[in-house]
């Protein structure tokens, strides 16, 4: 019991404390494996699911939180994937009657639907885990240190920095309007909205100019200097190595075989 407690404490924030580079590389590897696994090897996906779940145990976030956040995103994918079974051509599986219309569902379409749902569901789960254990600036730093294109990172970081300012500004404009608008002359309101959008655009533009001069005044010459603040520790290497070994195990079917042969009871949790 004591050992478990100590283990819990030391691993409680493991994922949070990892270097962003280690996280980016290993999470990308997991996602790649998930995407490239054919859907017919459905047992592999159970293992991926377990892998992601076990990762959450090494972080401060709880499984509940992760699922909650995932559920928010799932409907969007469902909305996109819903049409696939009807659109994909192939052997007809059955028909769906809606009023006068008759929609054919194909086998290929159904598989494709399952494919999209399972893979994107798992990816989102992992994405949610990643985003709740890494702050966005750290993530950008990690990308930068992994030699992702600087320009892209700069654009993203500006967007992250100013999207809120912009939203806040828009909200202020709307609030200022609402406080002085009492429901008359509603036709003119379209014009007012036009003014607001225009004003917002000009403000953004002028702000961009001021920000640029603030950068230039502090020596900016087209390249954002990188201050190293992260150092890879043995934990990062261990983590990444462990993930890669597990992935190799899953992809080669080794883990599944071990689960089936050595401990027959493992079916209990494999079927989770």
């Amino acid at each position: 019991m004591r050992v478990i407690a100590i283990l819990m404490i030391t691993t409680n924030r493991l994922v949070e404390n990892l270097d962003p580079r280690a996280k980016i590389v290993s999470f990308l590897a997991i996602i790649l494996c998930i995407i490239l696994t054919p859907i017919t090897r459905y047992k592999d996906f159970e293992l991926y699911f377990l892998l992601i779940l076990s990762l959450t145990f090494f972080s401060e976030t709880t499984v509940g939180q992760i699922f909650k956040r995932t559920c928010v995103l799932i409907p969007f994918i469902l909305a996109m994937a819903l049409f696939v079974p009807f659109l994909k051509e192939g052997q007809v599986w059955g028909y769906l009657n809606v009023g006068y219309w008759k929609f054919a569902v194909t086998y290929e379409g159904a598989w494709m639907f399952l494919n999209v749902m399972v893979k994107s569901g798992l990816s989102i789960l992992l994405f949610v885990l990643a985003s709740s254990t890494t702050t966005f600036p750290d993530f950008l730093k990690g990308l930068d240190m992994l030699r992702a294109p600087r320009l892209l990172i700069m654009l993203t970081s500006f967007m992250y920095r100013y999207i809120f300012v912009l939203i806040e500004e828009a909200r202020r404009l709307i609030r200022a309007r609402d406080m002085r608008y009492f429901g008359r002359r509603y036709k003119e309101q379209f014009l007012v909205v036009g003014y607001m959008v225009g004003g917002l655009f000009i403000r953004t533009f002028e702000r961009a100019e001021r920000i640029y001069s603030a950068m230039v005044l502090r020596g900016f010459s087209g390249e954002i200097p990188c201050v190293k603040r992260f150092r890879l520790s043995y934990k990062d290497f261990l983590f990444t190595a462990a993930i890669f070994i597990l992935l190799t195990g899953i992809v080669s079917g080794l883990i599944y075989k071990i689960g089936c042969i050595k401990i027959p009871d493992a079916r209990v949790w494999i079927g989770l």
């Binding site: 920095r161 230039v216 005044l217 502090r218």
Partner: protein, 262 residues
């Protein structure tokens, strides 16, 4: 006396035709603190932008004996730092630490040097432990202090501060006055735009008054300028209005920040 900044016949007109500055002439002595006061829209911020070479007016600006032009801008800016009026323009990085270390990193310092300087600057403005915070989530006063830190970390010789204390609470303001005293003791040249006559009285060696004609109308020691009520009255820095002393409400000219006897 070394004149570190010399401005001769500086004129600036905004692209839309608005006059920003008209025939500005003044000089700043090395190591002095010059406070610039003036009503809204009299061209104080425009002057700073010209001094930093962001706006390109006509006339001559000499800094450290070098005439400012396109080719030596970079060199001159290494020794100058400016804090913008709006902190949202100054803080453009995702985190406070990124922002504070941006200047030093561009100056080509070593990693350790950058980090020490940044932490020192944050400590000086009372934001130690804010390094990992997102600038957007800071309060206005915190942003303002972070903006000041981004310049302090570069350790420039000349500092231009555009309304550094607006929006700060009294404690942060007096803390800021402390920082100014430290900088003064280090021999830095400070140019400070402010509407806070109280601040001017605390730190100014000389005061420059900007008038509605978008040029300095008076310059002099802080005592004589701040005592010249007529001048201040004429330039909207002191004005007639009613105010309250417990039960007594009456009207007379009044300097903000002043307590007076009756």
């Amino acid at each position: 006396m070394d004149r570190i900044i010399k401005v001769h016949n500086l004129n600036y007109r905004y692209p839309d035709g608005t006059v920003g500055l008209k025939d500005v002439n003044f000089e700043v002595v090395a190591g002095e603190t010059m406070v610039i006061i003036g009503a809204n829209g009299t061209g104080k911020s425009t002057l700073f932008m010209n001094l930093m070479g962001v706006l390109d007016g006509t006339g001559r600006i000499e800094i450290n004996g070098i005439v400012l032009n396109r080719s030596n801008l970079k060199e001159i800016r290494r020794g100058m730092g400016m804090v913008f009026q709006s902190p949202d323009d100054q803080l453009f990085c995702p985190t406070v630490m990124d922002d504070v270390s941006f200047g030093p990193a561009n100056l080509g310092w070593s990693s350790e040097g950058i980090i020490t300087a940044s932490q020192k600057a944050l400590l000086l403005v009372g934001l130690e432990g804010y390094g990992a915070r997102t600038s957007y989530h800071l309060s206005f006063g915190e942003k303002k202090r972070a903006a000041i830190a981004t310049i302090l970390s570069m350790n420039p010789n000349i500092l231009l501060l555009d309304e550094p204390t607006s929006g700060l609470d009294p404690r942060s303001t007096s803390k800021f006055v402390n920082i100014l005293y430290t900088l003064k003791a280090q021999g830095k040249t400070l140019l400070i735009v402010t509407h806070d006559i109280f601040l001017a009285q605390e730190v100014a060696d000389r005061v420059l008054v900007f008038s509605e004609e978008k040029r300095p109308i008076a310059v002099g020691g802080y005592k004589e300028i701040l005592a010249d009520t007529e001048l201040l009255l004429k330039n909207n820095l002191v004005h007639q209005h009613r105010h309250r002393h417990d039960a007594l409400i009456h009207e007379h000219e009044h300097r903000h920040g002043y307590l007076h006897e009756h």
